[in-house]
């Protein structure tokens, strides 16, 4: 058929058909044109948009790493293999069981056989196996046996900071400490994949723990607690509660070891609490040289308040603090009154729980009927029980110029404004620091001092209340300190639970003999780590004279 003939036939065709053909042709042309245009557009201008290649998640979703303030790992996820079996695919259960037990000698062959004969599609043979075992089982080539990758929470530093870091259960759910907070209160803050950076310094944490362990051993104590806080930021640099536990093997230690004495335990702090009484009086306008009667024990109802080493005279506020006079403290509180005391303690955060990132926080035990007796006993730290964290938070405000900073377990970013509020006049803070130093220079805490790093503070020795009364021999000995004393940068609280006196201490187990020397050793080790500038005299001697401890008669304690 020639071209002319075709053209002729087309020309001869009736118009409607011709029109339809042309319509169809243009329609197809249009559609193909569109396709070509779109393809060109995709090929030329749209090279693999981000959404098209979504990142495929490999393996199970993990928990964030937990780091200390210097980036040292405290908790991390490691991928481990676990062996499981699908009994329906197992050819020879007896043979398979024997082969498996050859790789895992700790498994019972009978038990494995029972599992392999079970009428299910899935049984765990062994979870968390080593890479070597993985290879060995793989090489056996057993049908019906396979592996599953699982994430296992690992705490490479073991017991260090266990109470802060917390632990998880087999399903990787946080059950304590920061681990629990990550699943609850911190969940919104923890961006996926970002590590949680704690305020702790692992080195300082270790030193506090090391010295506490030794002190507990020396004095056959049942436990102890230690906490170091940066008074300018409220960051907790170390938090130790003993006895502790290994978060890698939680069930191998008694459950009560998980109790965090620093945040959850509440204690009648004894004389350490006199810092609050003194700060209250000073802030209300009393001066350090105002005199209060401490001549004779106070009798009120069936109670009597006495001093351990009665001075038998009128004492100034300074002397009351230095010699830790109960009678003087009670009389100071009396002058202030119940309402003032309540209000002051509330301002200092001593009547509400200290809410930190840790889920474990103890509520203070304040008297229901706050009367004249309570007014006086609270003055020297009895009749009110607070957590060690309460005391440190309060003393932080006394040391840093009078600002209450809520303590935190998380590293604060520099430049972020602190949530702080004024609770004391700057002059009160200055005077408190002077009094703290006085107690270490001349008073009950002389063993707390460190050459070159002047320490200030207050000792405390409380008789633990047991069965309604006070147990004479069960003591809670403590020392709350600040250093360097002339311009405090850190506050430290050391508590020894039920220490027993030794020959070296002539039977004493008070704060001045137990917690104070421990604090001295700790400060000597951590001050250089924390970059505290040593106070040195003009001839390079330590600013504070190196004393011969044995020559000092510990005349006063309590």
């Amino acid at each position: 058929m020639t071209e002319e003939a075709r053209a002729r036939r087309r020309a001869e065709a009736p118009d409607p058909v011709r029109g339809r053909v042309i319509f169809c042709a243009f329609a197809f042309l249009g559609i193909f044109g569109l396709l070509v245009a779109r393809m060109a557009q995709i090929a030329l201008f749209n090279p693999m948009s981000g959404e098209a290649v979504a990142f495929t998640e490999t393996g199970p979703v993990g928990r964030p790493d937990i780091l200390d303030r210097n980036g040292v790992l405290l908790a991390t996820d490691l991928q481990v293999a676990s062996v499981y079996a699908d009994p329906r695919d197992v050819w020879d259960p007896e043979e398979t069981a024997r082969a498996l037990v050859s790789v895992f000698p700790e498994l019972d062959e009978g038990a494995v056989l029972a599992k392999l004969k079970a009428k299910t599609g899935f049984v765990w043979i062994k979870r968390d196996i080593t890479p070597r075992q993985h290879a060995a089982v793989h090489d056996l080539g057993l049908p019906g046996i396979d592996f599953r990758q699982e994430l296992k929470r690992v705490y490479p530093n073991g017991r260090a900071a266990a109470h802060v870091v917390g632990f998880v259960d087999v399903d990787n759910k946080g059950l304590g400490g920061i681990e629990r907070a990550i699943d609850t209160t911190l969940a919104a803050q923890v961006a996926h994949g970002e590590p949680v950076r704690l305020s702790l310094d692992l080195r300082v944490q270790h030193v506090v723990e090391d010295e506490l362990v030794q002190t507990i051993q020396t004095f056959s104590a049942i436990g102890g607690a230690g906490v170091v806080v940066d008074v300018k930021t409220g960051e907790v640099i170390a938090m130790v509660s003993l006895p502790d536990f290994d978060p890698n093997h939680v069930n191998e230690d008694p459950a009560e070891n998980r109790f965090n004495r620093v945040t959850l335990g509440v204690y009648e702090m004894g004389s350490t609490f006199k810092a609050f009484n003194t700060a209250m009086a000073l802030d209300a306008g009393v001066t350090s040289h105002d005199m209060f009667d401490a001549r004779a024990p106070i009798r009120i109802g069936r109670f009597s308040i006495r001093d351990y080493h009665p001075m038998g005279r009128v004492l100034s506020v300074e002397e009351i603090f230095e010699h830790s006079s109960n009678i003087g403290s009670a009389n100071m509180a009396r002058k202030m009154g119940i309402a003032k005391q309540k209000e002051f303690l509330a301002t200092m955060g001593q009547l509400q729980p200290v809410i930190m990132e840790l889920p474990e926080h103890g509520a203070p035990l304040a008297p229901k009927n706050w009367g004249e007796v309570e007014l006086m006993t609270i003055a020297f730290g009895h009749g009110i029980a607070v957590s060690p964290m309460h005391v440190v938070a309060g003393v932080t405000a006394m040391a840093n110029g009078g600002m209450y900073i809520p303590p935190t377990m998380l590293k604060r970013d520099t430049g972020v404004e602190l949530v702080e509020h004024r609770v004391l006049k700057p002059e009160t803070s200055k005077e408190m620091n002077r009094l703290f130093r006085l107690v270490v220079e001349k008073g009950t805490a002389r063993k707390a001092d460190v050459p070159g790093y002047p320490v200030g503070g207050k000792t405390g020795t409380a008789e633990k209340s047991k069965g309604g009364g006070y147990a004479r021999k069960a003591l809670l000995s403590s020392f709350i300190g600040v250093f360097p004393a002339d311009a405090p940068e850190y506050a430290i609280l050391i508590i020894i639970d039920e220490p027993k006196g030794t020959k070296e201490t002539s039977g004493y187990a008070t704060g001045g003999w137990t917690a104070a020397p421990a604090t001295s050793r700790i400060v000597a080790r951590i001050a250089p780590m924390l970059g505290v500038e040593p106070r040195l005299g003009p001839n390079h001697e330590p600013g504070i004279a190196d004393r011969d401890d044995d020559a000092i008669q510990m005349a006063q304690d309590h």
């Binding site: 490999t58 210097n70 980036g71 040292v72 790992l73 991390t76 996820d77 490691l78 991928q79 690992v154 490479p156 530093n157 073991g158 260090a160 692992l202 080195r203 944490q205 270790h206 030193v207 090391d210 460190v450 050459p451 070159g452 790093y453 000597a524 080790r525 001050a527 250089p528 040593p534 106070r535 040195l536 390079h540 001697e541 330590p542």
Partner: protein
């Protein structure tokens, strides 16, 4: 003429088909490589995680302290051992000068190094740890 055009078009179609096949094949190959590399990265990342955990476990302050007590003759630093730059006295008159030091053979420029190149080098710690 139309026949030539058709033939040309046919040839073009075959060429395009072949070209397309090659491009697709190459892309698939690259995708395979990518997956392989990604898997390797994940694997290495996992290995790094394990090494990090192991390094942290082995360099725990408690362990280091025990080792230091056993093998090193060192003591905790005291405040008195810290001095300020200003406290360092100026060089007294008549003491060694730079030219005296330069006269010592191994201090001269180009002198052979005094250390033994075959001596064992302390192991570097893995990067990114203990920042």
């Amino acid at each position: 003429m139309i026949r030539a055009l058709n033939l040309g078009m046919l040839a073009l179609t075959v060429m395009i088909c072949f070209g397309l096949y090659r491009v697709t094949h190459a892309a698939q190959e690259r995708e395979g490589d990518l997956k392989h590399v990604e898997a390797e990265i994940t694997e290495q990342q996992r290995a790094i995680d394990v090494l990090k955990a192991e390094w942290t476990h082995l360099s725990q302050p408690g362990k280091v302290q025990a080792m230091a007590a056993r093998y090193l003759n060192l003591q905790p630093m005291k405040a008195t051992q810290i001095a300020y730059l200003n406290d360092i006295p100026m060089r007294p008159e008549g003491s060694a000068t730079m030219s005296d030091i330069a006269a010592i053979p191994f201090a001269q420029a180009g002198a052979a190094p005094v250390y033994d190149e075959n001596a064992p080098v302390p192991m570097a710690k893995p990067a990114g740890i203990g920042r």
